[in-house]
């Protein structure tokens, strides 16, 4: 499956988290584009720099079957929100089946132990995701859902 995996790219440790999780997806046979890596192939040091390129990212969104988006912070990162919006439009208007999955770790939004779930997310973001998928409390829950449900319906 072709997956765009996005999240906060402004700090090195968030990029590292994304790139490590992307590596797990690649090991399982998926093609993964991470915006800060700038291509479908990871660079030598994936988290060392932010190699974001708008055209490459938009093209990847057009090609992808799935958008996996990290939704952390009090409000979802603006680049992530824009990518969800673009992918939602592609999913609605295009003929290919596509899915959107969200990951929400942030305890300020979801509560400790995910007691609040995704209900505090901005409704526009939340509904955009729910129309084509769901929000999960961590990467491994999303991975389990991905492997259970497989390719887009």
């Amino acid at each position: 499956m072709k997956i765009v995996f996005t999240g906060i790219s402004a700090v090195p440790y968030a990029r590292e988290y994304l790139s490590n999780a992307a590596a797990t997806l690649r090991q399982r046979g998926h093609q993964v584009f991470v915006p800060h890596e700038g291509s479908w192939e990871p660079p030598e040091e994936p988290a060392a720099a932010n190699r974001f390129d708008f055209e490459a990212t938009y093209q990847a969104l057009r090609e992808a079957d799935l958008l996996l988006a990290i939704l952390d912070e009090y409000t979802v990162d603006d680049a992530v929100a824009a990518q969800i919006g673009a992918f939602h439009a592609l999913a609605r208007e295009g003929e290919r089946p596509r899915r959107i999955m969200g990951l929400l770790h942030d305890t300020r939004v979801a509560g400790w132990s995910w007691a609040g779930g995704d209900r505090a997310l901005n409704p526009q973001i939340r509904e955009s995701i729910h129309e084509f998928g769901a929000v999960y409390p961590n990467f491994y829950a999303a991975l389990a859902a991905l492997e259970t449900k497989g390719a887009p319906a």
């Binding site: 790219s9 402004a10 700090v11 090195p12 440790y13 968030a14 590292e16 988290y17 932010n50 952390d72 912070e73 409000t75 770790h105 942030d106 305890t107 300020r108 400790w112 132990s113 961590n138």
Partner: protein, 169 residues
């Protein structure tokens, strides 16, 4: 030196970054109070805000210096509050040496178009710069702490040389 480690701890990657920094600081010989290591911040915690405040406040009161992670679209509100408390305590407590920041975030740097520091709220940044400095990684913090330790040692030696009993300095 006894350090209070302030910063957002709301995602696995925040916590991993703190953990790595704390490991480096402890290797450099410092004692660290780390909020995410306290029971009230563990997952499954049923702590109420008053408990969190009380435990972490005791950590701020205990520390000789505060090391704050300033990342985020804005400095975390808890971090900013802890900085303010520490700054005020330091006005009356000579064992409180200062505050040091770590800033890795590209977003505030992008806002700093004229390089005069408007990337972070002026009050918050002013509090930090008046009593310390901001660095892009923990390495700069470790070097700064070493300078502070040397300065403190020199002051103690001078006071002893001037006749002050060592137990009082």
């Amino acid at each position: 030196m006894k350090l209070y480690i302030a910063g957002p701890l709301f995602t696995p990657y925040h916590r991993a970054f703190h953990q790595e920094n704390v490991k480096r600081l402890r290797q450099a010989g410092h004692e660290c109070f780390v909020p995410q290591e306290q029971e009230h911040n563990a997952h499954e915690s049923k702590s109420v805000p008053e408990q969190v405040f009380q435990v972490d406040l005791a950590g701020v009161q205990w520390a000789n210096a505060l090391v704050a992670l300033l990342d985020g679209p804005d400095v975390s509100s808890g971090t900013a509050c802890e900085m303010g408390i520490f700054y005020e305590l330091a006005q009356h407590d000579p064992t409180k040496i200062g505050l040091l920041g770590i800033l890795t975030d590209e977003r505030p740097r992008r806002r700093d178009s004229s390089n005069v520091g408007e990337s972070i709220n002026f009050f918050t940044l002013g509090c930090m710069l008046k009593a310390g400095a901001v660095y892009p990684s923990v390495e700069g913090v470790i070097e700064h702490l070493a300078r502070w330790e040397k300065e403190v040692a020199q002051k103690v030696a001078q006071a002893v040389a001037e006749g002050a009993p060592e137990t009082l300095v």
